[in-house]
Symmetry: D3
Subunit: 238 residues, 6 copies
């Protein structure tokens, strides 16, 4: 099988991570997975939400959104509709949970970091690009806090990265662009730590239920992809 863009089944799209893309945020990254382009900004502030006050623990949360012009056909703004859609909610929550898996709340202290992941252009895999980029923005924000002297320990004991996998025309493939995504029978997003443990698995049978051996093949592909992304993150932060 040849993929539309000539990649091998276990090959990522070209991935670029541009740090410090913004002037104001504590950390900011423009991450690109092929034509998918997400702006990840980490804003740090002193204090935590009310329900966490005086716990000595920090907090990390995320918000995901797509620009109206990011999609093939313009999408309506959620601010204009007056409510956030289910998909947006779901992805914001996924990103938040994933990044919180990288954090040691105690070492962060009572500081909050908000990760804004805004999709500037969408071509499949926006949530996995967002998580991968947001980790780098988070690392920069932590460095920013450390430079300000507000941290005592190391709040980032591990890294996280994420990738999509799917079964396209019967073959398990890594990092699907939109064109493959709409044709996939099964679609899975996997978030892993830099040392190869799982943080999140979300697999959906879009067209046909999948059996255990297909599932195993997808998980192995995802392990490979997340390892590659971890290397790219480390290089970017070096």
């Amino acid at each position: 099988m040849t993929r539309p863009d000539g990649r091998r089944p276990d090959q990522l799209r070209p991935v670029t991570i541009t740090r410090n893309w913004l002037d104001h945020a504590a950390g900011s990254v423009l991450v690109e997975f092929g034509r998918t382009r997400v702006l990840c900004a980490a804003s740090a502030s002193v204090g935590v939400p009310r329900w966490r006050k005086d716990s000595g623990l920090g907090w990390v949360t995320a918000e995901y959104a797509m620009l109206p012009s990011s999609t093939h056909t313009r999408s309506d703004r959620e601010s204009v509709k007056g409510r956030i859609g289910g998909r947006t909610h779901e992805i914001s929550r996924l990103i938040g949970r994933s990044l919180r898996a990288a954090i040691d709340y105690k070492a962060l202290g009572e500081n909050t970091i908000v990760l804004d992941c805004d999709v500037l252009q969408a071509d499949g895999g926006t949530r996995t690009a967002a998580i991968t980029g947001a980790y780098v923005a988070l690392a920069d924000a932590v460095a920013h806090l450390r430079a300000k002297g507000v941290l005592s320990g190391e709040p980032l004991p591990r890294s996280v990265a994420a990738v999509s996998v799917g079964i396209v025309d019967g073959e398990p493939c890594l990092d699907l662009p939109y064109e493959e995504d709409v044709r996939a029978d099964t679609d899975m997003n996997v978030v892993m730590t830099g040392d190869g443990a799982f943080v999140e698995i979300q697999g959906t049978a879009e067209e046909a239920p999948f059996d255990r051996s297909e599932l195993d093949a997808l998980l192995s592909l995802a392990e490979k992809g997340c390892a590659d992304l971890t290397a790219i993150q480390q290089e970017s932060l070096a």
Copy 2:
């Protein structure tokens, strides 16, 4: 290890499915997984949403909600807050996708079935109980449509059931009640067809990332649990 309620790690809570719990809906089921109690109602109507008109295909969708008094501490009503929360959105979407995996849209014809899953009492596993019960309500609604003579083929080629699994105190366990759920390191919801294929996998490392072997153990537990639930569904529908 002994579980708080004395169950073996691979054992379901007592599951009961009461059909025809309501007088008006085409199908209605009160499903209980231990103390978790969900009312699943399937309402059938002629026609499909606008974007699907004249396709010859049917539609199935779901809405999940919790009564304010269903939880240990009363929760605020989403209708009063004026917006649906992310968790509700996420679960409604999961139930809808899961049930659609059971449906042959063509055989359903241009009819819509809405599955309302209202949690009357919550004690862990509300979304998996909802899916398991909603399948039975859906089967009753399909029988209702068949009796009315509006179906030509068989719109339910397969069944679906769902169960939660998790790692509690280091041990993989099936069907977690609230008490175990809050202590679990990892929490996974798995939806499967009656013949043992996967429809949805949603796994989250709540406290600690999990490795591949833990993941494999959880998946095997889930396969066992879904098979047991399928038998209970079949018995209920017999």
Copy 3:
């Protein structure tokens, strides 16, 4: 005249009150007026709304809602619509006022009780069933608070019950099911105390204005119905 279900004009439908229907709430009742089925849950919490703080007085409030599948034809969820409808607002306020008439705020102390009345199945008279059942749930919640030792006096000096009356085909009738309700010229809901005083009267000429003698006949029927309901409440609480 014969009523569709064979009742005399001044006869209630079969009424059942099942206490402790839920595990978590301080008081919970499944009340049934014929096929109308309402789940009434009373949640108690320490403290009162801000505008009542440091008054030494308690507070009681109510929220009414219908499950989408409770009606003959499925109704849309108010949480999905993003706003509460006028009818829901109106009934929630009626239930709250009615139950507050039973309460001695001083003896309750600075505690709040919320009464959630969720209609599981609707067949006419949902608001009157809700008030009648909510009183029993409230009594159980008060007993729960008393057992916890937080009350000094008796916060429930009187009971309340409610019933609908209407003129159907020219004849005044008690406790209308849906079938009669849609045909009624006049529809009235009456809330009374256990010792026969009026708390609320809401009468509406649906089809034809009514004269003073018809009004008098309806009020007498309601007095009889509320007395019967009071007896059923007392028996249930005995």
Copy 4:
């Protein structure tokens, strides 16, 4: 007993009805019950809501609102809060039902009349003033439609008027201003037709439940008050 403004218990406040207060609406009235001042405007348009199309029947509906500066202490705008409160919903629905009792839908034909009742100054009895004034605005709008030749029959076979009654310091009183309203044990709003039949009764025991004889006294007072208001309406329209 002397009332604060020197009235007899069965006496209305000075009532004035100023027709044609606006230039654009089909009918418009500034109605004053003492210091209570409500602007009632009737807007007529061709056509009816979708659910009533091709029925040959007309429709009448009402919206009630208070200006922020109409109350003793400024109230927040419901447009700014983004939702309509329960009280507003309740009163809008009451006004709509009351005016619809005056209408013959068939003679109105497929036309819609919206009655906007905006409280410019509130001093008790705003809803009853609104209904009383809205009837006159409605009569003017019907005359406007008749002049345009779109009506065949007589869409206003009867008039409606409304008044509040209450028990203040143990004595039944007619048409309560704010000062008496807050002190009343019982508060009742009664809507009647011009020929003395009841359209709506809404009575609430604010402080103490009331007995049948008190209720009878209040109803007789309301009959007297509505008859007086009917005379004032007729004079105004003459």
Copy 5:
């Protein structure tokens, strides 16, 4: 050129300012520019918004709205739509900024004045009438605060007034009614202080862009109109 109502191009419509139109507000004015009629109410309260606390400075804000029946064709209520439209937001902000230009925050002390400008009838120029009337209501509210002894200095060092100007059929005209407004090529609203300085200029080329000399002519007309309005305000307050 003759204007539809016979005015000279630099002539205002008949302007009337009726003070104390309401009983409750600290200041209230019914302002009329021809058939445009706006109720301006100033409500004073102790304290300032949170972000301004302990600054020693006061605050002034404004809310503008139109009654549904104020326009030629009935407009929907923003409270019913559940959101405030862009035009309403824009005008509320303009009125607030304009009145704040008249205020010395320090002399006002930590008091807040809200200006509610509700359009009872619209015939062009509602925002300029609102500003002109709101100034008078504000002056009355300040006098009210002074009488209560809560002010030390003079919080109103200058007055403001506003007028619309536009190019109609090629000729610059002052104070456009609706009929001219819809035909205007250019439409400008100008807010000025009583001593002839500019506070706000908002000019829009509705049909055709305008050149510098047209702009200069419009500005001169506005200077003349604001001076006339200032005289009327002073007379009203004398």
Copy 6:
């Protein structure tokens, strides 16, 4: 006077216009005024809003928004707040009106172009950068429509550009960055056509009212700035 960044009072910040920044939109531009960075995307679609159907005329509208991370301190998302703020509304309307001044609706035919202006980084002048960039995106979208053969005439008879001017420390200055903007006494945004006519003027006395001669100086500066921007637009489109 020396400006913080060394510019002359009548000098623009470095302006760059990058066309085709996105792959999907009919026209897309990243416009930079110094550190202010706005993504302007023009989406074209067949058809017009309902109220304009069968008029033969096209439609152009705009939506403006700021990314949460674009500002010095993170701002909350309007989609999360569930409502669009007044400032956003105001600027979206300004951009829409400004671009419509460049359009010949008849030559556009019944097509709609939506201009999305999303601020990626804010450093003063976001609305003027948005208008200036959106014109170029609009020109590209029109070229795109022309290439598809759906246009008969020339829908863009003129160009528009916009700039801010203000009085900073007593001196009129062109194109204010945030640092100057917060210190300005007066702030004015001016939109002009490529041939030097005015489309919009919005001037506000932030701190002190301004006199006619200051106003004249600001207008002259704006004329100079818009002419410079027009040249940059033409170069970019050449």
